[in-house]
Every structure is written in structure tokens, then in C-alpha cells.
Assembly symmetry: C2
Homo-oligomer: 411 residues x 2
């Protein structure tokens, strides 16, 4: 074997070994040493930076190698909006800060280097919230226990394309089928789960940890095995950014009518396109008793519209962080809209339903709208379950609401 | 309606509208203006930065707002390894550079700000290569046409968990089922598609654009509708980083024996765990004529091992950017390994197969190993198809190989 050949092989072997090692530098468990050099039998590799490093007391150390930077800070959603903490530079150019202890939660964070938002290059785990990517930091513990991937049976997550004649698009949705679905012949109840403004069909699984919550609740016997259908609630979008043909991206880029976000077409397509597709392509218990719908924020408004317009279709309705907002001036038109809504709520009540679940955070900027919804429902003697949590208009709350709603479904 | 309430509603309406707009700032089509202010009826938002902006002649403008930075550069995989181009700062703090024209391709790129690698905050579209995230830049044209999401029927991509008794793990794999699978009752041929060192079950769909390549080739009638199964080829890993229970992440973090990456257990699990699962849970033509296996780099080595160890199992075998490497000194053991391989190749030849496809780039650091494989196959009079491309050990080449191999399968 000549020398060049041997060197090439050494590099490859080293690549395999260091790949195997570096594949894990983003693991958030505490390793023996903070900064360990990678195995490098044949070539130089920069030292492996461990960040974030979760300490046994739930404090977290963040590290960034940035020799030429003059300021580095970290911001995460355990801090009040707009706050950050500075990292301190060592003479090797490694910036470090230890924060916390942090409450168990599924957090997002990012660095700012000389005024520019920077994702932690030591942490490959990201979550996308609309157009913004953040690093993931999962602090384990009681409060985040349902969000952790455990050694339980896992459902399958499928990215499914379906035709939407109502929206004149071929669209993508995510479908969670519970563990055992592929093995059996049984039929399942379905939860239709809607995201908020700025989100898309990816949001509930990445930001909302829907698969983990369902896997864990089902494994604990707390929720019935169910199918969860997560649509894209933006009527002018076929799929998440970059996941649809560009013709659709372009048409979404400059919406000819911004009101198309709220023109009722998406709500119509759930009933005319999505539900028929799901009920004909999956093994579904296709009746009111086994049909639920829930949504957050914009999706909470859509949920109300869909439920109001289709009495007798859903036995379970969940409205997260959204109530009733009366846009614009109180004209005769607005009064007509309100009267129509009242009529529909009365029909929905009389059609019968098992659960109408409303949740909101006390600091949510839509808190008042939820109180308006409650007053309206009360005025109809319309029964509902109300859940108030601390916090605002956040995924931390929506994960809690999903965790609390799903055990109540189909029982 | 009081003033606070009205202001809250205005903010919410603005949030919906600007979400709808900002959702699209990462679109790579050329908008009318380079930097357009978002609609902001009620509150201030920073100006929307369009980056990357693809110009009509396939030049690309990159932009980053970084008022406090003193150096900003961009590096992308259209440049030689280690190269970058500087961006120039304007007096508003906006850094800009226009590069190209670029050849149509599915590129990755990132910025460097004061020495720190930074993802383009204007572009939410990322791809992960092992532990490293990059921004996506798709330059459309003939060479990248198969990688573009088009208005054709799309297959479903499912993230499936299966038990692997061989590896003692519950593991995740991705399964592509072609358009029409859910509607029909027919059975399909299957391609088992393996990634390289540093990758995982996600690699072929994000870096390899496997769904787009298959969707487009099938829509054009060039490839048969087929199921594509993409496993995680790291024997000590249950799933991609962050996607498996932490107990498994931990065990992967410090592999007690780095050779576990190449101990043959993964190869065994493909035959004993993966194929039986797929053939019992999907509508599969479960015979040699309808079974193919292919892999790149480490996956190309695994493909050879699996094919050699299971003569008569696969009619189609694809080996990308990998040949035969003789590790270590040429001891008696090594001679024994070589003799065993030669015996197996002879048995594989006599078992019959339809296609053995080998592809490599002329600049690939494993180029010589592929020539060793060819000499070995030639010495057995073992027929194979050989494809040599420009370039190195890159996803650009592996996408081409998948595009060229799949039309040859199951025909």
C-alpha cells in the first residue's frame, strides 16, 4: 500500500470516527469535560465545543468560539422578551456563560454576535417558528416530561399531499398515526389540529412537540390512540416555505388580498377537502363522536368558525389563546356578523357536543378576546371548560393545552 | 371599544399581515425591490432583508444587516473548499455582495461574521449535514430540474419507528411511498437507500432531495413508482440527533468501541429487521426482482457487505463513491478477509442479478478504492455499470447518481 493511499484511508477512518464523535457534541447531557479534543489520528480538527451543557442542577452553560468578536450574548425564551445575557471571553477566544437553574421546559435560544443573531454552531438541533430558526434546549423534569422522546412505542408522522379544490392547490399536511396503526385493522378517532398566524403544517410537531405528547400520553394510558391531522392554515400556501412548488410560493409572496388569510376559504377546505381525504385514506371512525378539532390563535379563530358553521360535525372543540374579536367599527354590518355568530352558537349548542375547551394565559395579549368569547358562550348557556394558565401567547402554553385536552377526547 | 383593546387588535391584525408577508422573505425569487419595508400599520418592524436574491441571469445577491460587525463573508458549496467572498458594508449597516452567475444546483451556504459562522437570518430554509446546518439556495435550471418541487403528484414521506432486535434498539427510518399508494391496493418494488458516515435517516431526503427526484422521475414516466426506505446506518444510533430517547443519545455519545460503526451489525439488521418490517407493513412486491439496495460512501460499503452476504436477495445494487479499502496491515487475517470477499462475489455473480451500478467522482478521495472494486469485479467477470462524474465526495454527485440509477430499476 503506497503512502498516498494509506493517508487517504487514514483520513477516511478518522472521518468516520470523528463523525461518530462529533455527531454527539450537540447532546445536551453533561459530558466528562467541557471542551474535549476530537480523536484526530491523521488530521487537525478544531476542538469540539460543548454547548449547551446542561449541569446536574439544571444550570446551563453556553459556549461559543469567537476570537474576533467583541460582544456575544445569549437570549432564550426563559427570559423576558428582549432580554439577553452576555458571555465572557477567555484568552483562547471561547465565550462562556452559565445561567439558571432553568425550569424544565422545551426552550428556544440563540446567540447575538456583534449585533447579529447567530445560531449555536455546536447544537444542530433547531426549531423553526415561521421564518425564524432557533436552537433547541430541552431541560428535562416534571414540567417537560411529556415533551421528551422516551422509550415508548412511537406513532408514525407522515407528510401527505392532498388536492384542495376549494383552495385550488395541492397542499401538504402532517398526519400522526399512533403506534400500532400499521400493524392492525382497527379504526381510530381523529383530532384536527390547527396552528397560528406565521406558522404552517410543521409547527405543531416541532414547536408543539405533538408527536411526543401523544406518544407519551397514549403509552401512559391517559389518551386514547388517535390520529392527529395537522394542516397548513394559510389559505394561500400549499406548504411550508421551500416545500411547495415555487409558483405557489410566488403567489403567496405578494398576496393580492391580505384578507385572503381570513376569508373563510381555509375553514371551508378543512370540511370539504381535508376531512374527506383523511376519512377515505386512513382507517378512521368517521362520525361526530370520534371527530375533534382544536387550534391556537389564528387556528383558534378558524376552529370557532369551522365548529359554528358545521354543527353536529365535532363532538370535541378546543380553542387555545383566541376568543372573539370584533374588527373595525361597530357598523350595521358588524352587528349582522355578531347576530349571525349568535345564531350559529345557538344551533351548535342544540346540535349537541361533548366538550368545548377554552384555554388562555393570563398575560396573553388576546386575553380579553377570550373573556368576550366566554361572555358570549355564557349568554347562550353554552357549556365549556375554561383553563387559565400563567404566561402569554406562547408555545409553552399551547403544549400544556394539547397535553390537557387530548386526555379528554373520545371518552 | 376602548383604546387599549383597539391597539391590541391592531397589533394582532398587523401580526397576521406581517406574518403573511415575512413568511415569504426567504423566497428566492426576485421581488420588485431589494429591501422593502413590511406593512406596519400599528408598530415598528425592522425592514425586511431579502437574501438570497436570485437575479434573472442566475447571479445571486446576499445581504446581511450587521451594523456592529467589522467583517462579513459568504461561503457556499459552489466555491472551492475553504474559499469565501467578502460582503461590503453600506452606511446603513447592510452588508451586500452579488456573486455568480451560478450553475443550476441545490447549494448550501453560510455567512461568517467576525470569524463566527452565521446562518442567513433572512432565509429560513436550512439543511442539516450531520451536526452542521447550512442555508439552502436552489438555483433553478436544467441541472437542478429534478431537485425542484413541481406541480406533480407527490409521494408521502413517513417517519416510521421499528424494532431492531439485532441492534437492540427501537429505531427510526424514513419511508417514501409514491403518489397513488394510499389510493390503491397494488404492490410496489422497494429501494433500500443508505447514507454515509456523519449522516442519518434524514440525509437522503434533505441533502439528497430523494422525494423530489422520485416524484419528478415518476411523473415523467422515467422511473417506476417505487417505495424508498431510508434507514439510519449508524449501528449505535436509534435516530437522528435529538430524535431518539436520550438514553440512546448518551450511549452513542461515547461509543465504547468506535468499530461498532463498522461491526456488521447494521448490515445484519437491514436484512433481519428492516426488510421484514417493510414487507409486512407496506404493500410490497417481496421478491428479488423488486428489491434494490444502494448507498453512498459508508452506505456504499454497507451495500457491498449486504449484497455479498445475501446472494439472491437483490436484483439491483448501487454503490456510490465507495469501493474496496483494505484497512490495516496486510496480515494473514487481511488475506483471509480478501479471500472470503472473493468467494462471496463469485456466489453473488452466480446467484444472478440484473444491475450492479458503480458511480464515483474523478476528484473523490475514495476514487482509488472504486478502481480497486472494479479490478476485483473484473477479475470475477462480474458485470457492472460504471459511471464517472466530475467532482468529489459530494451530495451534488449522489443526487446525480440517484437520478441515474432509479430509472434503471425494476424494468
Amino acid at each position: 500500500m503506497n503512502k498516498t493511499r494509506k493517508s487517504v484511508i487514514n483520513v477516511f477512518v478518522a472521518a468516520i470516527i470523528t463523525s461518530a464523535l462529533s455527531m454527539n457534541i450537540c447532546a445536551q447531557q453533561a459530558p466528562a469535560a467541557a471542551v474535549t479534543p476530537a480523536a484526530r489520528p491523521a488530521f487537525q480538527r478544531p476542538p469540539v465545543i460543548i454547548s449547551p451543557q446542561l449541569l446536574p442542577d439544571n444550570r446551563v452553560t453556553f459556549r461559543l468560539m469567537a476570537n474576533e468578536a467583541t460582544s456575544v450574548s445569549v437570549t432564550g425564551d426563559w427570559m423576558p422578551m428582549g432580554k439577553s445575557e452576555n458571555l465572557i471571553k477567555s484568552d483562547t477566544g471561547l465565550w462562556t456563560v452559565t445561567l439558571g437553574p432553568l425550569k424544565p421546559e422545551f426552550y428556544g435560544y440563540s446567540f447575538t454576535v456583534n449585533g447579529v443573531r447567530v445560531l449555536d454552531p455546536s447544537n444542530a438541533q433547531l426549531k423553526r417558528d415561521g421564518t425564524r430558526n432557533e436552537n433547541v434546549l430541552l431541560v428535562p423534569g416534571a414540567e417537560s416530561d411529556l415533551y421528551i422522546i422516551k422509550d415508548v412505542s412511537h406513532g408514525t408522522l407522515s407528510k401527505v399531499w392532498y388536492k384542495s379544490p376549494v383552495l385550488n392547490l395541492t397542499r401538504r399536511m402532517y398526519v400522526y398515526t399512533p403506534a400500532g396503526y400499521e400493524n392492525g385493522t382497527g379504526k381510530y378517532p381523529v383530532l384536527y389540529l390547527l396552528h397560528g398566524a406565521g406558522g404552517d403544517e410543521d409547527a405543531w410537531t416541532t414547536l408543539g412537540r405533538a408527536c411526543q405528547i401523544l406518544d407519551n400520553l397514549i403509552a401512559q394510558g391517559k389518551a386514547r390512540p388517535m390520529i392527529v391531522v395537522m394542516t397548513n392554515g394559510n389559505a394561500n400556501q400549499a406548504a411550508a416555505p421551500g416545500e411547495a412548488p415555487s409558483v405557489n410560493v410566488l403567489s403567496a409572496q405578494v398576496p393580492s388580498n391580505p384578507a385572503s388569510m381570513a376569508n373563510g376559504k381555509f375553514e371551508e377546505s378543512v370540511v370539504k377537502d381535508v376531512i374527506p381525504y383523511v376519512e377515505s385514506h386512513f382507517r378512521v371512525l368517521a362520525n361526530k363522536e370520534n371527530r375533534a378539532i382544536a387550534g391556537l390563535s389564528m387556528g383558534g379563530a378558524q376552529t370557532q368558525t369551522i365548529a359554528n358553521n358545521n354543527p353536529g360535525m365535532f363532538n370535541y372543540i378546543g380553542v387555545f389563546s383566541m376568543g372573539i374579536m370584533n374588527f373595525g367599527p361597530q357598523t350595521a354590518d358588524a352587528a349582522k356578523v355578531e347576530q349571525e355568530r349568535n345564531d350559529k352558537i345557538e344551533v351548535l349548542k342544540n346540535s349537541g357536543y361533548k366538550l368545548y375547551w377554552v384555554g388562555v394565559g393570563t398575560e396573553d395579549f388576546l386575553y380579553q378576546s377570550v373573556q368576550t368569547l366566554r361572555k358570549t358562550l355564557d349568554s347562550h348557556n353554552f357549556k365549556y371548560t375554561y383553563r387559565e394558565t400563567p404566561g402569554g401567547h406562547t408555545w409553552a402554553n399551547w403544549r400544556i393545552y394539547l397535553s390537557e385536552l387530548t386526555p379528554l377526547l373520545f371518552k
